[in-house]
Symmetry: C2
Subunit: 452 residues, 2 copies
Amino acid sequence: MERVKPRTLSGFMELLPPKQAQMEKLLSVLRETYARYGFTPLDTPAIEASEVLLAKGGGETEKQIYRFNKGDHDLALRFDLTVPLAKYVALNYGQLTFPFRRYQIGKVWRGERAQRGRFREFYQADIDVIGDGALDILNEAEIPAIIYQTFTRLGLKRFRIRVNNRKVLNGFFALLGLTERAQDVMRTIDKLDKIGPDKVRELLLSECGVDETAADEILRFITVAGTSAEKLQFLEGWRGRNEVFDLGLDELRTVAAYLPEFGVPEENFEIDLTIARGLDYYTGTVYETVMTDHPEIGSVCSGGRYDNLAEYYTNKALPGVGISIGLTRLFYVLQEQGMLSEDVLTAPADVLILPMTDELSGAIALATKLRSAGLRVQLYGEKKKFKAKIAYADKLAIPFVIFLGEDELREGKCSVKDMATGEQQTLTADEAEAMLTAAIAEKNAGAVIREN
Amino acid sequence: MERVKPRTLSGFMELLPPKQAQMEKLLSVLRETYARYGFTPLDTPAIEASEVLLAKGGGETEKQIYRFNKGDHDLALRFDLTVPLAKYVALNYGQLTFPFRRYQIGKVWRGERAQRGRFREFYQADIDVIGDGALDILNEAEIPAIIYQTFTRLGLKRFRIRVNNRKVLNGFFALLGLTERAQDVMRTIDKLDKIGPDKVRELLLSECGVDETAADEILRFITVAGTSAEKLQFLEGWRGRNEVFDLGLDELRTVAAYLPEFGVPEENFEIDLTIARGLDYYTGTVYETVMTDHPEIGSVCSGGRYDNLAEYYTNKALPGVGISIGLTRLFYVLQEQGMLSEDVLTAPADVLILPMTDELSGAIALATKLRSAGLRVQLYGEKKKFKAKIAYADKLAIPFVIFLGEDELREGKCSVKDMATGEQQTLTADEAEAMLTAAIAEKNAGAVIREN
């Protein structure tokens, strides 16, 4: 037979089972955390009409998109989860209840140039709250709590949520007479982390048409040092001169004010006036999240407040606030940094049952009993030597093996071996169930990320 | 602004939030059940090289597939989860441990003609056990237990797992001198449910080149009545005349023998000699699952034993056994039949907290406390009239609302309203947590499918 060489496309993540098991833990923590904050899961098609996906049109997106014809239809794969959300909300407006809180975790596709750590197919994990006409600032104030809980439950401790407010920046730029150039200035200062203050100053002069005094003023303003309280104090010094600025400052105060009640420790939060976010459509609070020990990775969770989710589809005003995690990239980075915990159970089963007799009734009944108790049990039926059977459990890192021989069956017992310690106990089925349930619960308590 | 009409492509399922919540319950039951049987989750790309996906080539598949070019690459969307599994196992053969047990729940795409209840994008939920060179019959015997557990945990009671063995059929056809025509005969008798015995007889004569005596013999054989035990007894009458038949009969006996220990009740299982499955590649046990009250729907979970999973990619012999659920179609059918339970919680939150004061610290602290306890809590911050706030909870079917006014805050209490009964209690935060946790656990205990 002529054979085809099996391969997976470059830029497409496909994990071996133990890694996939870690990815699943990550996914399940996200689903659970988002649900606790009252977000409902959504699932939209991978394929949409190109006309719908590209309603906003233009730019990088159009070049990167996977677009094709099927019959008479001009179709494309979604390249993010925001456009499908906008479509969904516009389409189902009359059947949704606002504020509409949804999370979506799904794959998106972008045909970027393949390079290490860049993926053409990747998971995004998004949450958004959409208001009908208006949306209270409380929704913006809650976002840091969601980010904090998510990363904490994943096992990360050393991270910082950086928050700014676009109205503060826009108001400040207005005071400098730069309203017309605000978007360009915003995009330039957003590069501060990457290119440093000197380059930003240079670009402000050469590309944004800002004069030297204003450029210095901007850099002094955004890089002001201090705690969040001190920065708010500094901003108060500018109050009363621009309405938009004052509104932004009030919003920033509200976001900072409730952190203790939301359970967010001070060291995981920071007002950072340099955060601007590249995208045009943010209008209020903006968020970035950095791993303190790995600033080079950039933000692992970003988002912000916007005023018009679905303006390309409807004339309804649909303001919202949302954040997104690039999950595939995050997973890749954690793996590269050796930050995926090896203490997490990645085996396909908690227990491997090895029957030592030809008649299997006893082994099967025990497997059924343990499964009913919620344990993940594999029955091993292959005709192999004892050594090969044990090696199987070993290779898969299955933590417990149960032997069932004539003696055990006669006595209504089983031998349970802890593969980590080598310790072996002879127990009744009830005792084995209790022991294993407790041991596995303990092993499952650990988080998927560990810090070095 | 010029607007694009928002729409979702026909043949693509996109659910409203309450329906999506039901779908998620379905997905989570599947994930959990498969895990209990020692299957590890796998996730392969949606896009593969066309050459890889179409290695087997030909037929309906090639017409239906979504195929396109990106740069120099000839790509396609996967149309099932079996071909990607074959690729994965061939590609990672050296790094996998056999038997390799994996489940995969994911979307696949087929550009079929759109019609009611047919989807172009749909979820498949597959499990497979792959052996390296050999695979014990115990794996085949375990499959009915997995099917039984899956549907039982989903809430279905009235269903039947129908099992047959291809070796029994092939051996029997050999006895009739029909070895050469076995595949055609198999495909013909597989239509029995749909077209009835007279038509099958006609086709056997006209299209399979079977003579009248043999056709009658075949129909008598496959439609023999009785319990599973009686059918096995009937088959014993044919023993000793064909090796393949005898081997198949032994396998069928083994599959039936362990059902009690696997916890499968007799009424949910049936040996059915008419089950053949259309696909050529099955070689041993084959499975179908029918909803007793809805035979017209056909099989909702099917599969079987095969000998060569990855022959198009590798010369390794990789026998396996697997089953698949067409999840999107199943969900559609359950919905059409009114079989999705309305008692399942589909609200985005368990509790809605309505602060009645401007200062929100107390409300936020309570939300944080209840979320830590695992409850799904939404904080409502919109400036609306009281009536509109209550209507919000009502529309979303959120089961509990908590009011926090000046009085409650002063006394360190909160008012909890059960939206179903209208009953309202004033409780401390600890009392509210305990009450809500118990009430929500009870509401979550129900299954997603209900029989009428």
